[in-house]
């Protein structure tokens, strides 16, 4: 079976989008289940719960950026290259790397947000700022995964 390098590159893009979708849905579910428990005892914290529970959603957009870049820029570059020499497999590897970054950081950002939500009614909502700060640390990993994937594709001369 001969797989076209552009098809392998597109597979990399879709794997990265799949990782982002898994990370954000899992993270939002972890934060959301803590949010339901919190809202049942203190319904006026709903605004804070919505803010904290929606933080892991950004993974979807990061991974969509990677997929658009691969389909729009990298795949045409690969199909016009004289001899791709396995560059499609390298792009697939970049997609797997981005997908690990998005999935793991999304799931674990959800647990940080869930801890923040659990303390909302005890602190009258004052924990919101601090828990967003600590959740942004985990967000940074996803942003770095996005940036480093783009830098690596650039160094391979595919963008």
């Amino acid at each position: 079976m001969i797989i076209d390098p552009a098809a392998l590159a597109t597979l990399g893009g879709t794997i990265s989008l799949a990782g982002g979708l898994v990370g954000s849905s899992w993270g939002m579910a972890v934060a959301g289940s803590a949010g339901v428990a919190m809202l049942s005892q203190d319904p006026k914290q709903r605004k804070n719960v919505i803010i904290l529970a929606s933080l892991p959603m950004s993974r979807v957009f990061y991974s969509f950026i990677i997929m658009i870049l691969i389909i729009n820029t990298v795949a045409p570059e690969l199909s016009t290259a004289a001899e791709p020499q396995g560059a499609g497999f390298a792009v697939l590897a970049m997609g797997i790397m981005a997908s690990v970054a998005f999935a793991v950081s999304g799931i674990y950002q959800g647990s940080v947000c869930a801890a923040g939500i659990a303390f909302l009614s005890k602190t009258n909502g004052h924990i919101l700022t601090n828990s967003i700060t600590l959740a942004v640390f985990v967000e940074l990993v996803a942003v770095l995964g996005l940036v480093f994937t783009i830098i690596a594709l650039n160094m391979m001369g595919l963008m």
């Binding site: 079976m1 001969i2 797989i3 392998l8 020499q85 396995g86 560059a87 499609g88 497999f89 390298a90 590897a93 970049m94 797997i96 790397m97 690990v100 970054a101 793991v104 950081s105 674990y108 950002q109 647990s111 940080v112 869930a114 801890a115 923040g116 303390f119 005890k122 602190t123 004052h126 924990i127 601090n130 828990s131 700060t133 600590l134 959740a135 640390f137 985990v138 940074l140 990993v141 996803a142 770095l144 995964g145 480093f148 690596a152 160094m155 391979m156």
Partner: protein, 159 residues
């Protein structure tokens, strides 16, 4: 699908960065959710919590160093070889070594930092220095993983 030695080498670099990203995300999240619990009790420990929760982030940069080394130094050497043989697979194996080092040390450094954060109130912040010292022991594993990967790449004659 024809996997060339170059694309296997790039796969190794991508695995190394993926391990670093996963370790950093899980470690920072573990420190982050005990940080949220401490800040709910005592918001003035914010500075110490941020210092301790940011320690596992270095894995991302170590992983990126490996990826950049492979893309800029190892790849031209492999391309210049008349018959690369199994060199690409060897570089992928080196990437797996460093991915294991970065992810395990990141996750478990997060556990050490989380223990330090949990004792911040009891010791009125004085545990910070000691817990940074104990976290640096785990950091050492990541640094040794980076150094030994570079050493083995240069023993393979690829740097």
């Amino acid at each position: 699908m024809n996997i060339s030695a170059e694309s296997l080498a790039i796969f190794g670099g991508a695995i190394a960065l993926a391990g670093g990203l996963a370790g950093a995300a899980i470690g920072m999240a573990m420190a982050g959710y005990s940080g949220v619990a401490i800040l709910a009790e005592e918001p003035k420990h914010m500075k110490s919590v941020i210092i301790l929760a940011a320690l596992p982030m270095s894995r991302v940069f170590y992983g990126f160093i490996i990826l950049v080394f492979i893309l800029t130094t190892v790849l031209p050497r492999i391309t210049a070889m008349p018959d690369p043989g199994g060199n690409g697979f060897a570089v992928a194996a080196c990437g797996v070594i460093s991915a294991a080092a970065f992810s395990f040390s990141g996750i478990h450094q997060g556990a050490v930092c989380s223990a330090g954060i949990a004792s911040l109130i009891k010791t009125r912040g004085r545990i910070l220095t000691n817990s940074i010292m104990l976290a640096v022991f785990v950091e050492l594993i990541a640094v040794l993983g980076l150094v030994f990967t570079i050493m083995s790449l240069s023993l393979l004659g690829l740097m």
